[in-house]
């Protein structure tokens, strides 16, 4: 798939187009539980969450990951993606408004391809980091 963006001029330090998402609601979590197949009650059942010492239900880490995935595939076609990793550093709560960003940290050649490494992050409306991640993309798919 041919990217819509000019990947030849990409350089270290460049930011890719960010993605902001609406506040997480209980409906967001219910729909994500159903659509993802992750029915762990801690994300949708307040009684279960409280029983296990949480104040409220909270978002699936993979919901924030899916937002990062949307940011990446809005930027480049999906077959440009070589690897994608993420570490969940804090829980995302109901009413959190998550924003995704990505920055090029390295350009290199591997397997005969021009590739770039990115650092990724998800923060909420208070600037609290929820997810940090990295991805490698091929620039000449």
């Amino acid at each position: 798939m041919r990217p819509d963006v000019d990947t030849t001029s990409i350089k270290v330090g460049d930011e890719i187009p960010p993605l902001s998402t609406p506040p997480i609601s209980r409906l967001t979590l219910a729909l994500y539980a159903g659509a993802s197949g992750d029915h762990n009650p801690i994300h949708v059942d307040l009684d279960f969450a409280r029983y296990h010492g949480m104040d409220d239900v909270f978002a699936h880490g993979m919901l924030a990951s899916a937002y990062l995935g949307r940011m990446l595939t809005n930027w480049l076609p999906q077959d440009a993606l070589v690897s994608f990793g993420m570490r969940f550093v804090a829980i995302s709560h109901v009413h959190d408004e998550l924003s995704c960003s990505g920055r090029i940290t390295e350009r290199f050649e591997e397997a005969g391809e021009q590739r770039a490494r990115l650092e990724l992050s998800v923060v909420n409306q208070h600037g609290e980091t929820k997810v940090v991640g990295d991805a490698v993309v091929r620039l000449d798919p």
């Binding site: 729909l31 659509a35 993802s36 880490g61 595939t73």
Partner: protein, 151 residues
């Protein structure tokens, strides 16, 4: 404490059919607006065989097995204490609606931090795409780390 002898434990292999309706449901649930992930025509116009499986959905397809929490049950882990710590994907191909994917997982590490207050279980999953030929294609590798919090 989780028995470290479970390192190397192989989970039951399972195969899933990628369903277009489910991909659209997932796309809506994550607020996707890119038509490539919502409309068959847009996907084909962009060069895909059908709706592509978005980057994180392989993790979800792996949860379509009979009991997605099976290994937690086997290892004696209480679901309510589990947090997702890390997730990693290596991609070799993009799957599309209509594909049949096979998931083969092993527990590859078990360790603890903070004097046992937090335990970690690492699971690695190889994903194959059925091509109709004898040898399936390696589609992706997944690595998942869960954290079990003890208070």
């Amino acid at each position: 404490m989780i028995d470290p002898s479970f390192i190397g434990f192989r989970l039951p292999v399972h195969t899933q059919l990628v369903e277009a309706g489910r991909l659209r449901f997932f796309a809506r649930a994550i607020g996707e607006t890119n038509p490539v992930y919502l409309e068959e025509d847009a996907a084909r116009a962009a060069g895909w065989r059908s709706l592509p499986v978005p980057p994180t959905f392989l993790f979800c397809l792996d949860m379509e097995r009979d009991n997605p929490y099976d290994y937690m049950d086997t290892l004696g882990i209480e679901l309510g204490k589990v947090l997702h710590g890390e997730q990693h994907f290596d991609y070799y191909q993009v799957a599309c609606a209509g594909d049949r994917l096979t998931f083969d997982s092993r527990i590859t590490d078990i360790y603890q931090k903070k004097a046992g207050a937090m335990e970690f279980v690492v699971r690695e999953t190889a994903v194959y795409r059925d091509t109709g030929r004898q040898e399936p294609d390696r589609l992706a590798d997944l690595r998942s780390i869960i954290i079990i919090r003890h208070r």
